[in-house]
């Protein structure tokens, strides 16, 4: 923990990368994101640490007094901490900050939603690389709005609406305080870099991004492998419309954005050389996770490679850190978060028939612009830092280390 006076402020929102689909922000819109980014930074660097002190000196001893022993797992820590005034205040501030980030994004994009729709329509017009088809919203996406995003990824207030994506795009730079890079593609760039390191000179021909959202992390793969055909699949039409238009704006032509539920991949067996996902699996469900991975196995070529980036699993993690990382599940509308992080993915892959000796776990760091803050130099705001656990399978050069 650094003293607040030594904190480097979060990068100004005006440093976020501009692209063809960027919403046009007023001075006040920008200032709201600046406040929220520095608030997040302060919370992560100064405020969050008080929880551990409160646990060690107050909530833990109090629990011990009534139970005759120290809390033994993250659920018991949560029970003990939910009584603690410091934890309550930290939680209430964190929750209201997440809600304010949504309000700030919506007050930026909704008044210009018509103009954004028209811009997307013009960029997407006459191209066969955007393939939309009516796709039912899966139950695990319709029950709650992920991370307090009103209307979720699917909200369409009129035909052709892209405001859900524009809001997601605009706010993420503030939420992640620049750690994902100016174009929020740090995970994709890290993934492309990792693939090139573990398979030097490999040129995958067909690449699949599973649950691509608006394609923040699809574009880096398209750039790293310009001769490959990339398929970016998601169930949410607004994200795909926006993402396709954004990619067109960058002059990227080798991505097909396709609306599809990835529990059933509409591709032949062995079609893909490389399949990956970034921060997607925790937004599915118990059965969907298995369906998706089964389909990955079927659609992956014999010598193919696949990997999935997530926050680190709870396995072997200190229970207090598990408790902090689990906050999002209870309080930030991430219903499958706990279950996914309790899942031992290597065992699950083996159970689903992936070759045992080719299953790996690794760590991938966001690759970001020189002017952006870097993972490692920053205190991690649990669940929002630019550092991921990744699990997958395939032949890799084992000399790789992050």
């Amino acid at each position: 923990m650094k003293p607040a006076t030594q904190l480097e402020p979060a990068p100004a929102w005006s440093e976020a990368g501009q692209h063809a689909m960027s919403a046009q922000a007023s001075h006040d819109d920008t200032a709201r994101f600046n406040f929220l980014a520095n608030f997040n930074k302060y919370m992560a660097n100064v405020v969050v640490a008080g929880n551990h002190i409160a646990f060690e000196h107050r909530a833990g001893p109090r629990w011990e007094q009534s139970h005759g022993r120290w809390p033994a797992d993250r659920r018991e820590i949560r029970a003990a901490m939910s009584e603690d005034p410091y934890y309550r205040m930290w939680s209430a501030l964190r929750r209201t900050g997440m809600e304010m980030r949504q309000q700030a994004g919506r007050s930026l994009v909704l008044p210009q939603a018509g103009a954004l729709r028209d811009r997307a329509a013009a960029l997407n017009s006459g191209r066969d690389t955007l393939q939309l088809q009516p796709t039912p919203v899966p139950r695990y996406q319709s029950e709650v709005d992920n991370h307090c995003m009103p209307g979720g990824y699917f909200a369409e207030y009129f035909d052709g609406d892209v405001s859900a994506a524009a809001n997601y795009d605009a706010g993420m730079f503030a939420t992640t305080t620049g750690l994902f890079g100016q174009f929020l593609d740090g995970a994709g760039r890290g993934t492309a870099n990792w693939v090139q390191a573990v398979r030097p000179d490999w040129q995958p021909k067909r690449i699949l991004d599973v649950g691509c959202g608006l394609g923040h992390n699809t574009l880096p793969l398209a750039k790293a492998f310009p001769d490959a055909q990339i398929y970016a699949l998601d169930t949410a039409a607004p994200m795909l419309r926006f993402g396709h238009a954004r990619a067109v704006g960058f002059g990227i032509q080798n991505i097909i954005f396709q609306q599809s539920n990835v529990e059933t991949l509409p591709f032949a067996d062995g079609f893909f050389d490389l399949i990956y996902s970034t921060m997607f699996l925790h937004e599915t469900s118990h059965s969907a996770l298995r369906n998706v991975l089964r389909e990955v196995r079927r659609a992956l070529a014999d010598d193919g490679l696949h990997l999935h980036l997530e926050q680190p699993p709870y396995h072997n993690m200190p229970i207090f850190e598990q408790f902090l990382r689990d906050w999002d599940c209870q309080h930030n509308n991430e219903p499958f978060w706990s279950a996914l992080h309790d899942t031992h993915l290597p065992s699950l892959l083996a159970e689903l028939g992936f070759s045992q000796d080719e299953i790996f776990e690794t760590e991938i760091h966001a690759l970001v612009e020189e002017v952006m803050p870097k993972v490692g130099q920053e205190v991690e705001d649990y669940g929002r830092g630019g550092k991921w656990y990744a699990c997958g399978s395939g032949r890799i050069n084992d000399r790789w280390s992050p």
């Binding site: 406040f35 205040m89 209201t96 900050g97 304010m100 007050s107 909704l110």
Partner: protein
């Protein structure tokens, strides 16, 4: 999308899923959300004012240091003081109501 009331309602919409409460009295959670929103808007106003000062300094309308050394004359000082009192009285409306009720 063109109806301003509808638009404001959409901007302020809640997400699906139960809103968690952290304090025994749920009104404390609500009050904190309001206070923190005010803190944000204060920062927004401060940033706008900062822009105004910097633009005026850039255009050499005044030196930013002049703000720190500005001394209102008697009439300006009185007007400003009166504004502060009106403002405080607006904010502390409920206390005034308490006093009235106790009389």
């Amino acid at each position: 999308m063109t109806d301003p009331d509808k638009l404001q309602q959409l901007i302020n919409a809640a997400s699906r899923g139960k809103r968690p409460h952290f304090f025994e009295d749920h009104d404390v959670d609500r009050l904190l959300a309001i206070v923190w929103a005010m803190a944000a808007e204060l920062a927004v106003t401060r940033e706008r004012l900062d822009t105004v000062e910097r633009l005026l300094a850039e255009r050499e309308v005044f030196d930013r240091g002049a703000i720190e050394t500005y001394r209102p004359d008697a009439s300006a000082a009185k007007e400003r003081g009166q504004w502060q009192i009106d403002y405080i009285s607006r904010l502390l409306r409920v206390l005034q109501q308490d006093i009235d009720a106790m009389k």
